[in-house]
């Protein structure tokens, strides 16, 4: 069964081809949505089978995997295959569930877009297809290829409403910024290729593969590969593209910029674990980047007024958590042979994918209904949009980390892992503090958003209505999943045991924790209650500030709080810095280069041409037109030549 997993991306790809190339009449329902749902559902069904196999303990052996030879040059051969282990299965769940639901949801959300829907569905299908490809890749080049292709789809879909200058600009920005990360990724795998001679995971993650790379090169290579994750998963300092990417349709934000593509960076980091644990320095980099990003993005979310931007910053922040968890988890693996950080981060990955997709789709439902993103113009929607409001509340509670919703379990696990890593390096304790502050902020801004949107009085003139069934049903499914997915910790052998399978080779001695042990550990750990209390405090503060009447928010406009507020609204000026860097410094530099090219280099060329023409102009004056003068010159010339040949040359010895 597993060797047919390569068919998973084929379904959506066929749908993409059909939607892109079929004549207009035959596109059918919603300009191709039918094909889209069929393609996504086919992939979903096959993914489900694959995941079921993996849950039953079967993984694909490399020699059974079908292979496609892409390149052979000399001793370098690049072949593509599929790689299926627990981590792949996890991503397959995310992509198939969210992908299918988003396509169904799109039927309602994109309804009024008219003929351009065809482009939309084609691009979405292409995205789903290449995202599966990325997940199934069994070597770094294959992964990199799909990595770039998901970036392309992201570019195309952010710029879906290309006639809006902001959308066109955001699309470009997203592509270029992630490409900076991609460069590092590429450089990293090139380094590995030189030392190991292949990029297949099976060789690379083997004892022989990891030992072939010198330690300092391994640090460099893993840090560079992680650079790819920084770009794709929008980590500091390359995180500013993600909030801008909200220019795309909300479905795109939910699918690509919350649930799947931005997870690719986390997936890459998790996938590279056998390499990363060779290099504590890289792990430290991973953890610090994750922690800083989590906190920084959370602060930016505090003051955002655009509902999608709040969610975007929240996504960055949560991705930071996962990265932090992976970094800390690596230390745990090295020092204590303890997979908790890894399992926690991957658990957070799947939980976050579900509740963040839910939140985005709820936001989409709101935007679809009232036609604005600005939360200052919303308010009081709870009465008009019950389903959206309740499902979004579930999502907000999940991300805030209240039990028994999914976010509670995984976030707590991540923070616990970071705390434990603190035993081996004090930096992690610092990062833990940052994480816990982030947890408080998360609860606050999520409920600030919910209160501003759904509670209180209507603040502008709009006519809200509940969204159609195609939109609310996916919301309800996702809400149910968000409530339930946390319990994966306790089903069967438990999620942790399951995920351990993918880094099995890195752990010395197996120590199975039964689900009961996990539960006991969580509820006896005082840290659990610290984060719980902080989350509830965040919600209460948000309630006090944004829902209870009688609080004057104008204090945020003056003095020091005002300065902070403006800094937050301007995203710590990082975005502005990048703009200035790109448009003033870099573009200015290119203008200088252009002038240099035009006036100096081409000037020299034209100067030579002018010199030639000018000398010629001077020299032609010698042509007097007097034939006798010419003849005299000929005679003089002949005489000179004769003298030279008869006397000078013999004298010189020739």
């Amino acid at each position: 069964m597993l060797e047919y997993a390569w068919l998973i991306p084929v379904f959506p790809f066929i749908a993409f081809i059909l939607i892109a190339l079929l004549p207009k009449r035959t596109l059918g329902w919603e300009d191709g949505c039918g094909y889209g749902i069929a393609g996504a559902a086919g992939a979903f069904a096959l993914s489900a089978l694959v995941v079921w196999e993996v849950i039953n303990g079967r993984t694909l052996l490399p020699e059974d995997a079908p292979r496609f030879t892409w390149l052979i040059i000399g001793d370098i051969s690049v072949t593509f295959g599929i790689w299926i282990d627990e981590l792949t299965a996890l991503m397959l769940v995310v992509v198939s569930v969210v992908g299918t639901l988003v396509v169904i949801y799109s039927a309602g959300y994109m309804h009024q877009e008219g003929v351009t829907r065809r482009r939309y569905y084609a691009e979405i299908m292409l995205f789903i297809s290449v995202m599966y490809g990325l997940v199934l890749a069994d070597n770094y080049i294959e992964m990199f290829i799909f990595w770039e292709l998901v970036g392309l789809c992201s570019y195309l879909l952010i710029g879906f409403w290309y006639e809006r200058p902001s959308a066109a600009s955001a699309a470009k920005r997203a592509f270029i910024v992630t490409r900076v990360g991609d460069i590092m990724f590429m450089a990293g795998i090139i380094i590995l290729l030189k030392y190991v001679g292949t990029l297949d995971f099976v060789t690379l993650f083997d004892e022989g593969g990891t030992q072939a790379v010198p330690a300092d090169m391994m640090t460099l290579a893993t840090a560079l590969i992680f650079g790819g994750a920084i770009g794709k998963s929008a980590q500091f300092p390359l995180h500013e593209w993600l909030p801008d990417a909200m220019e795309g349709p909300t479905t795109v934000s939910a699918l690509i910029h919350a649930a799947t593509m931005v997870k690719a960076g986390v997936y890459l980091t998790a996938r590279s674990y056998p390499l990363l644990v060779q290099s504590p320095e890289s792990l430290m980099l991973v953890a610090v980047i994750g922690g800083v990003t989590a906190l920084l993005a959370a602060t930016c979310a505090l003051a955002a007024n655009d509902i999608k931007r709040v969610l975007a910053y929240s996504t960055i922040s949560q991705l930071g958590y996962m990265i932090l968890g992976l970094g800390a988890g690596g230390y745990l693996v090295i020092e204590a042979s303890n997979p908790n950080g890894y399992t926690a981060a991957t658990f957070h990955l799947i939980n976050h994918a579900i509740f963040k997709a839910l939140l985005f789709l709820c936001a989409g439902s709101v935007i679809h209904s009232i036609g604005t993103n600005d939360m200052r113009l919303m308010g009081g929607l709870h009465k008009k949009m019950r389903i959206t409001s309740i499902t979004m509340l579930i999502g907000a509670l999940a991300i805030a980390g209240l039990p028994p919703l999914s976010g509670f379990w995984s976030k707590d696990e991540v923070l616990a892992a970071v705390w434990h890593a603190g035993e081996f390096d004090w930096t992690f304790t610092l990062l833990w503090v940052m994480g816990i502050v982030t947890a408080f902020m998360t609860a606050f801004y999520m409920f600030r958003m919910w209160f501003m949107t759904f509670a209180g009085e209507q603040r502008s003139d709009f006519h809200a209505h509940e969204s159609p069934k195609t939109m609310t049903v996916p919301l309800m499914i996702l809400a149910a999943l968000a409530m339930g997915s946390g319990f994966a910790l306790f089903i069967g052998d438990g999620f942790k045991t399951f995920m351990e399978g993918s880094i099995h080779g890195l752990l010395q001695g197996v120590h199975h924790e039964s689900p009961m042990d996990v539960a006991v550990e969580i509820f006896t750990d005082p840290l659990t209650y610290v984060s719980l209390v902080l989350a509830i405090a965040g919600i209460l503060v948000a309630y006090r500030l944004y829902c209870m009447p009688g609080f004057d928010r104008s204090v945020f406009a003056k003095g020091f709080p005002g300065k902070v507020q403006r800094a937050l609204e301007n995203r710590w000026y990082i975005s502005q810095f990048y703009d200035d860097f790109a448009y003033k410094i870099w573009y200015g530099f290119s203008l200088v280069a252009d002038a240099f090219d035009r006036y100096v280099i081409d000037g020299v060329v034209n100067g030579f041409a002018y010199l030639g023409a000018n000398t010629g102009g001077k020299m032609r004056k010698a042509q007097t037109g007097n034939v006798q003068r010419y003849a005299s010159l000929i005679v003089v010339g002949i005489i000179a030549l004769l003298v030279f040949m008869l006397y000078v040359l013999p004298w010189g010895g020739w």
């Binding site: 030879t69 892409w70 390149l71 052979i72 040059i73 000399g74 370098i76 080049i141 990199f144 290829i145 799909f146 770039e148 292709l149 392309l152 570019y155 710029g159 290309y162 006639e163 809006r164 200058p165 959308a167 066109a168 600009s169 699309a171 470009k172 592509f175 270029i176 490409r179 900076v180 991609d182 460069i183 590429m186 450089a187 090139i190 380094i191 290729l193 030189k194 790109a582 870099w586 573009y587 530099f589 290119s590 203008l591 280069a593 252009d594 090219d597 280099i601 081409d602 060329v605 041409a609």
Partner: protein
């Protein structure tokens, strides 16, 4: 199949006969395009047949096989004496390096003829010159005799000069003369190199193989360095390499679209072909001594070209500068002196030929439909010409090295070989990947996206015409096919690249 058939000569003759007929059409000039298309199509089909029959790992039973005895092994080899006293022979043949370029030549010529279907100004001469150009380029890529090589090399200049000078833009006189003189000076350097090799070898033969064989004992190190420098200059100007590149943007901006396609798609490849066929294998010690110079120039071309693109206001000039940047990859691949790098360099030539043809054709479409190529005056054209915008986007994406499209494999392999040879200096050229994305997407954003421009009259802007769309679609299909299956081409190039590397390792005498 094709045993004993002088197939290459036939293919070269096809456009030549076509050109003669086209010139001689007299008052039936309006049929010139049909004649030109017919003959170039025949050449294309025959060359595709040659590619089909070409054997990846040839042995003596392969059609027209010629064992180079250490030098390149050719297939479809033909040899006739022309001027015996001077050792000038007409020798043609194909190997893994020339085959892709050979097919590329017939392909791009045919597509350019289709693309210029509605040329109104002196069609006889226009299509005739295109065919003459095809003859010249085909000759350069197949001939194995320096003298004939040089003749073909010069033949190429003349039609291109007229194409720019007659069918060009407003500043065509300046561009045409600059193109001609600049590249001609480079040709002189090449001529000096050829003559020096001929006389120093003393084999009374202009044959590449004979000169190489004699050169192993006759060419001293200093001689090789000097001659290599001259030949490298001669080929490098065509490539073009920084700082000898300024003829290129001027020529492109003024040239008609088909002229630009052929100029960037084929003429630039002649430089890259010459370096790998002539300069490096015959003068290994010179190449070795100047390896670093080549690498520095390559990296400078890549980065400097990319930076210049960012500043361009004219869409076509942007594409022209991007050619400088991308041909830098070719040189960089060669300069690594690795099998991987040489293979990737040749593949990059092929890839760039396809991609840049799409880009220049799309610039032509924009010019043709909107009347201007100035990026600031464009904007929002996606609404008016969605197919054209899609094709331009695909072209840009292919050019910026998107995986799955043809340039990626080449660029990636160049980077790998660069790392093998120079380690972390890799980080310099790899920067260009981001810059390239930057200038292309920025140009795309300003010209195709955003609100519809008000600076030009867009009321009668319509989508792409069939004769413009067909060549572009064909090219895009090839770009995708070779992007997904680069091995289709790599397998041909690889053995020839091995030969190059072996030749570099041979003792060069002196």
């Amino acid at each position: 199949m094709l045993e004993g058939v002088p197939i290459i000569s036939i293919i070269i003759l096809m456009p030549l006969i076509g050109a003669l007929i086209t010139f001689g059409l007299g008052r039936y000039g309006r049929y010139a395009r049909y004649v030109a298309l017919a003959f170039s199509l025949v050449a294309l089909v025959l060359s595709a047949l040659v590619a089909f029959v070409f054997v990846v790992e040839p042995d003596s039973s392969s059609p027209g096989y010629h064992d180079g005895g250490g030098f390149f092994d050719y297939q479809f080899y033909e040899e006739h004496t022309w001027i015996e006293a001077l050792g000038i022979r007409y020798i043609v043949g194909l190997d893994g390096i020339s085959l892709p370029l050979f097919v590329l030549t017939t392909l791009l010529s045919t597509l350019s003829i289709v693309f210029s279907w509605d040329t109104k100004l002196r069609p006889k001469e226009y299509f005739g010159l295109m065919l003459v150009l095809e003859v010249g380029v085909l000759g350069v890529f197949t001939t194995l005799d320096y003298f004939v090589f040089y003749v073909f090399w010069e033949v190429v200049l003349i039609p291109m000069y007229f194409m720019i000078g007659v069918w060009g833009g407003p500043n065509k006189d300046y561009a045409a003369i600059k193109f001609f003189i600049y590249t001609h000076i480079a040709s002189l350097a090449l001529l000096i190199a050829i003559m020096a090799m001929y006389f120093q070898a003393g084999a009374n033969s202009f044959g590449m193989e004979d000169i190489w064989r004699a050169g192993q004992t006759e060419f001293a190190r200093m001689f090789q360095i000097g001659v290599f420098a001259a030949a490298f200059f001669g080929f490098g100007v065509k490539l073009p390499m920084v700082p000898f590149h300024t003829w290129l943007p001027d020529a492109h901006v003024e040239a008609p679209t088909a002229g630009s396609v052929l100029l960037a798609g084929l003429l630039l490849k002649m430089g890259g072909y010459g370096i790998i066929r002539v300069a490096i294998p015959t003068l290994p010690l010179g190449a070795d001594a100047l390896q670093l110079v080549m690498a520095v120039i390559a990296i400078a071309s890549i980065l400097y070209g990319a930076m210049l693109c960012l500043a361009q206001k004219d869409l076509k000039k942007l594409v022209a500068y991007s050619s400088i940047s991308h041909m830098g990859f070719v040189l960089l691949g060669y300069a690594t002196f690795t099998q991987l790098g040489v293979t990737a360099g040749v593949f990059q030539m092929f890839a760039h030929g396809l991609v840049t043809a799409v880009l220049f054709m799309m610039c032509g479409v924009v010019q043709h439909h909107c009347g201007t190529r100035i990026i600031q005056s464009l904007g929002g054209l996606s609404k008016k010409m969605p197919s054209a915008a899609t094709m331009l986007t695909i072209g840009f994406l292919a050019s910026l090295g998107l995986p799955g499209l043809v340039s990626f494999a080449a660029e990636f392999m160049v980077f790998v070989s660069m790392y093998e040879t120079w380690g972390l200096w890799l980080l310099l050229p790899i920067l260009s990947v981001a810059i390239t994305a930057g200038y292309y997407l920025w140009a795309l954003q300003r010209s195709m996206f955003g609100p519809l421009t008000k600076e030009i009259d867009t009321s009668d802007v319509h989508d792409i015409d069939w004769f413009e769309g067909v060549p572009v679609v064909v090219l895009i299909a090839l770009i995708a096919i070779f992007g997904v299956f680069p091995l289709l081409l790599f397998q041909y190039i690889d053995p020839a690249a091995v030969t190059v590397i072996n030749l570099l390792g041979l003792p060069g005498g002196g």
